[in-house]
């Protein structure tokens, strides 16, 4: 009862859906629809799993008068107020999210939305700081990532191409400086010539590459998105899908049972 029944339920529900893909006729077609309908009803209840432990956790904090208790109290109070307000608006307007309800007009628009939107907008600051800190040209792969990100970042915003020659100029001048610094301590004349040559080449390259990017950067970012990026993403997601299918089959066949713990 405790293990056999769940394994059987999992097998039947998964099996019917797969069979219905290949044989959409009776009885599989209508069984699939029925199962889907049940799934719609049952999976709604997974929404509230975990909320009990959240509330219990904060209730305990208040009871033990911990340092963070006032915040926990705020959380529980908001939970209750929101719920009551929502139920009240729901009874009055048929649904708490009806356009006429005060719940939607005030609570959702002026409390919930600003909180959620601002919480996630903090990521803008964090990603800017992380890009500065972690985005280092450590090797060939990291450099490729950097170049591709730079092209897309400038190519996907209006007038980004106008800024690109300056970035190219700075980058190539830096490369030239590194080459010259590399050349100076060398004793062999060939190596010196080689590095000085590289410095000069990178300085000369500024002009054609700068002009190319100034005129073609949006097209170049289009190309990156639609050709190499697309191919790699396709390969990645085919790989991920194959992995997910293997996992799903293991679950349906009862080999993978961790969800029963």
């Amino acid at each position: 009862m405790k293990k056999g029944v769940p394994l059987f339920i999992t097998f039947i529900s998964g099996f019917i859906l797969i069979v219905a893909l290949f044989i959409p006729h009776e009885p599989f077609g209508s069984l699939q629809e029925r199962f889907n309908d049940w799934y719609i009803i049952v999976s709604g209840f997974t929404l509230i799993l975990g909320i009990d432990s959240l509330l219990a956790y904060h209730y305990r904090k208040i009871k033990r008068k911990e340092k963070e208790a006032p915040y926990s109290f705020a959380l529980l109070l908001t939970f209750i107020i929101t719920l009551l307000w929502g139920i009240y608006s729901g009874i009055k307007h048929g649904n708490p999210f009806a356009p006429t309800s005060t719940f939607l007009r005030y609570f959702y628009t002026y409390v919930f939305v600003p909180l959620q939107a601002t919480m996630f907008s903090l990521l803008a600051f964090f990603i800017a700081s992380a890009a500065y800190r972690a985005f280092r040209a450590r090797g060939l792969n990291a450099t490729l990532l950097l170049i591709s990100a730079g092209i897309v970042m400038l190519g996907r915003v209006p007038k980004g191409e106008d800024f690109s020659p300056y970035f190219i100029a700075v980058t190539f001048i830096l490369i030239a400086i590194v080459c010259i610094l590399e050349a100076l301590p060398r004793i062999s004349i060939y190596e010196r010539v080689l590095f000085f040559g590289l410095a000069i080449i990178s300085l000369i390259l500024i002009f054609p590459i700068g002009i190319f990017l100034k005129t073609k950067l949006p097209l170049l970012s289009d190309w990156i998105m639609n050709v190499p990026q697309l191919g790699a993403k396709r390969g990645l997601f085919i790989g991920i899908s194959l992995g997910a299918i293997a996992m799903a089959l293991r679950i349906i066949l009862g080999i993978e049972r961790t969800y029963l713990k």
């Binding site: 009803i41 915040y71 719920l83 959620q116």
Partner: protein, 221 residues
């Protein structure tokens, strides 16, 4: 008037969350807990108004109105009786909270897991793998060199990326070369994704600053 008060509440909460940038502080923590608390109750409201009411109670509404609670059972159609299967499973899900019968919740979880697995297999097979492989079979001709070149890159990128994730054999020889090409394309793709992610995060901030400037502050003048 109420709108103005709530506008100030919205601005206050926005600034409270921004205050985290300086350092963690009581204002931020307060706002964060309000967010979590309200989100939690939202899920209950959704469960009730978009699941229980229309899908569980809805089908019994008419029969209940005509016959009342005690007599309606005599007039259920077979369809209505069948509905008791998902209702039973939904109740099982909630039994998780009652330790002696908590094991019954596994039945409900088993059903959702089995369904999710079945849907996952059919969806990714029919909707991703087959059409995407089909779309990778691209023409390579000498007539249109540029698009043939692009097609070739798409083909090589797709296959080499797939090979990179082929772990059951050591990446040596031809496989090694191919998987190294794969990692190159993956880096380009991750770079593009990273660029787009920066774009997305910045847009969110633009939205909030726009709110502070043009909805809140401009209401003062």
């Amino acid at each position: 008037m109420i709108d103005i008060i709530f506008l100030w509440i919205a601005a206050g909460l926005t600034l409270a969350i921004f205050s985290f940038l300086y350092k963690d502080n009581p204002f931020y923590k307060f706002a964060e807990h309000i967010y979590v608390g309200s989100a939690a109750s939202f899920w209950f409201l959704y469960l009730w108004f978009f699941d229980v009411e229309p899908k569980i109670l809805g089908p019994f509404k008419n029969v209940f109105k005509t016959y009342g609670f005690w007599k309606m059972w005599l007039h259920f159609t077979p369809e209505q009786w069948i509905l008791f299967i998902p209702i039973f499973l939904s109740i099982c899900m909630l039994l998780r909270f009652i330790p002696p019968v908590a094991w019954l919740s596994r039945w409900a979880i088993a059903f959702t897991v089995g369904m999710a697995a079945g849907l996952g297999v059919t969806g990714s097979l029919q909707g991703y793998i087959v059409p995407q492989i089909h779309a990778t079979i691209l023409p390579l001709t000498f007539k249109d060199l540029f698009s043939s070149f692009n097609n070739l890159i798409i083909i090589v990128a797709t296959i080499s990326t797939l090979f990179y994730f082929f772990f059951s054999k050591e990446h040596k020889g031809a496989l090694g070369i191919f998987s190294r090409i794969g990692i190159t394309f993956i880096m380009i793709a991750f770079g593009a994704s990273f660029g787009y992610t920066i774009m997305a995060r910045v847009s969110l901030l633009i939205g909030r600053i726009h709110f502070l400037l043009f909805e809140w502050l401009s209401s003062l003048f």
